[in-house]
Amino acid sequence: MTPTLLFVQSLNGLQFGLILFLIAAGLTLVFGVMDFINLAHGVQYMVGAYLMAAFSAWTGNFGWALLLALPSALAVGLLLEALVFRHLYDRDHLDQVLATFGVILFLNQGVKFVWGAAPLNVPAPEWLSGSVELADGLLYPVYRLAIIVAGLAVAALLYVLVNHTRVGMLVRAGASNAPMVSALGVNIRRLFMIVFGFGAMLAGFAGAMVAPILSVEPGMGDNILILAFVVIVIGGIGSIRGAFLAALMVGLVDTVGRSFAPNLLRLFLDPATASQTGRAVAPMLIYIFMAAILFFRPAGLFPAKR
Amino acid sequence: MVEPLLELRHLKKNFGALVVTDDVSLAVEPGELHAIIGPNGAGKTTLIHQISGFLSSASGEVLLGGQDITRLSMHERVRRGLARSFQITSILPGFSALENVALAVQARSGSSFRFFGDASRERGLNELAMDCLEQVGLGDRAFATAGFLSHGEKRQLELAIALATRPRLLLLDEPLAGTGHDDSQRVVETLRALKSRITIVLIEHDMDAVFSLADRVSVLVYGRVIATDTPVAIRANAEVRTAYLGEEV
């Protein structure tokens, strides 16, 4: 367990956590403001990655592709909202879970239909490829650093939007007391659409950003969706701040846990058992973490609703 | 003096900065019907919530028959003989009226961890439940689905459910609210019949009912008990008249 390795893994965890945050932010707002449980949020992330792949193949330029992918992801989100989600807002959570589950089936197959089942690759832009030397002999890929920077920038932007704009104020009010907001004469449908579209675009952005480092394939949104749910539940539903902290925690616990659980266990167990148990425990860590947090705080770390 | 059945000692409750129950001390003697009156927002419902364990208290004590029940949860208090009705009707809407009551009977007779045998056909439970329904004048509606009863009938059903737990102390939160004249007469008669058998704490806005039923009346204003006395004395109390009765009577 060298310090260098720990540092690199922490950076990876940070990067993963920020991606999770981009997805979880939209999810927690949609959830908090509309009380709408959207399983299809993960496929928005997948759609973002596919759009990125498509546009990047078409334009041959990372920047243009990103610029085209974002509004397209937004359009897909708004289309889904109008066709499906809108009709589910006043249904119970069970119906919402099921109908959005149907959307997942459709879109997972839909991308196969359009782009085939084989994974796609997206090249990272020239100026972000390669590695930098962070410290003596410590190389780190530039593109991953770029993701960290972009993630932090979006988090900052989100902070400003939520805390210092009128829409942001309505969103915060909506998350703690939605009937109140509509009683104040705010067009709640439009607010929902804005929040929804914005959330879809953030998830799409996350997908577009990871496209060069992951393979773009059907179903890639499914597991990340579950992680995003873990994040918002830990953070407290409806709380952006909670989502941010929880995303970083989950990212770090997962990434660092995977590489160090066997080492840590070696302190208590013989090496063979330790590495086996470690590999078994590592992927479960965040779920244990979540169960532990909910055990002590049944409404998450920063509950937005009273 | 007899030991009070219910005793509140320096009970407090606040919602944030709003103090809703402000140092309430009160003794309800066995067998009496003790009415609590006060303007809207005085904290009457909150007090009932605290006594029944639906809400926890910030400080102070609740004693039932001399035993401290302050820390007990709602269902434990029920098992010690404390039943309540809700100001906002709370029933099982999908169950028949009879089953609503039969469940309350079931709660105090034998284990409910029985996995076999049709509960709805347990004669012992149904007979006692029917008894309670008849006491409140709802016998002929026993098989109606509770959610489809009229508002007045639902209030009567709540009373029957509370009775079925065989309480020593019954807490009633505005049982007459929203009922028509006939229904309300019926509930008053039911209470009159009950008061010889059960100790009752009654919250009610209908002053005719309060003054005809109550043995003693406490007046709650802004979370404080400003007077506790016989109905006659309360009517004559100048402070009460200005604080409360003046605006209504």
């Binding site: 589950f101 | 029920v78 709370s90 029985r114």
Partner: protein, 343 residues
Amino acid sequence: MTELAQTRSAPALPFGRRFELVPVILFAVFAAGPILASASGAEGYVLSLLTRVMILGLAAMSLDLILGYGALVSFGHAAFLGIGAYAVGILASHGSEDALVQIPVALAASAGFGLVTGAISLRTKGVYFIMITLAFGQMLFFLATSLAAYGGDDGMTLPERSRVAGTALIESDVAFYWASFFCLLVTYALARAVVASRFGRVLRGTRENSVRMEAIGFQPFRYQLAAYVLSGMMAGLAGCLLANQTEFVSPAYMTWQRSGELIFMVVLGGLGTLHGAIIGAAAFLLLEEFLPEILHTLGFMLQEDMRARLVENWKMIFGPLLILIVLFARGGIMGLWRRGHHG
């Protein structure tokens, strides 16, 4: 009877009171399964499809016990299927091949898991409950993928079906069919008794108004937990059967998608009727099985390659179909049936 259709879930009247046609027909069809299968000309295929329907029907029914009667939306129910299946697989790989050992172990393991995770999950409400059950399901899924000794990601093949008291009683597909039928029938009868019992009445009452239940002296948590454990054990039994049918055990039995499918089966059939869940499972599996062929037939005027593409991408139709069912068929298949019968 008219008021029954009003509530979304279980009817107000308990079951014992009236004769019910639907479950009788349902089990008659299952009982005729082997005959139907041999008449169909594709005996092995039909028999194995029907066996699968019964096994997943059992799992869906167990979920209905807490979802339909307790309003507990558990999103991790597939975990119990996995526990049952792995109990069979792990014991078999250590030489315990007898169902009389495997099933009790599976039931005990399911009960233990249900007790621990249920006690934690039931502290939370609503969406948090959905998510924490999902998290426990995922935990078990990842645990299974890391069990290198038992196949890890890939799972493991069973050497043969479980033995019963040392004999190869359920080795043939027909015998296994009857074994599954027997399990389903007994569990169904048990579940119906439970639902109508004192315990079941408290559970149903808690679903409708848990504050009211507390105000008459019940502690909802204890009953919900017991129901959760019971339901988990039933699903564990289904897991044992599933492993035996496919003679294969893998983490794929407990993906969160599988949990989602189980919820879907229950809702499709109609919440809070027990047999509705079995019918929902049947409808779901048959749709999944035959939708490609239906599409093939419907696409007769398309060109051959377009037609093939349509069939290949049948899930693109399946997904929207699910959405339409949620949006328009409230009360599920049992709801439609009831409406049809009572105007």
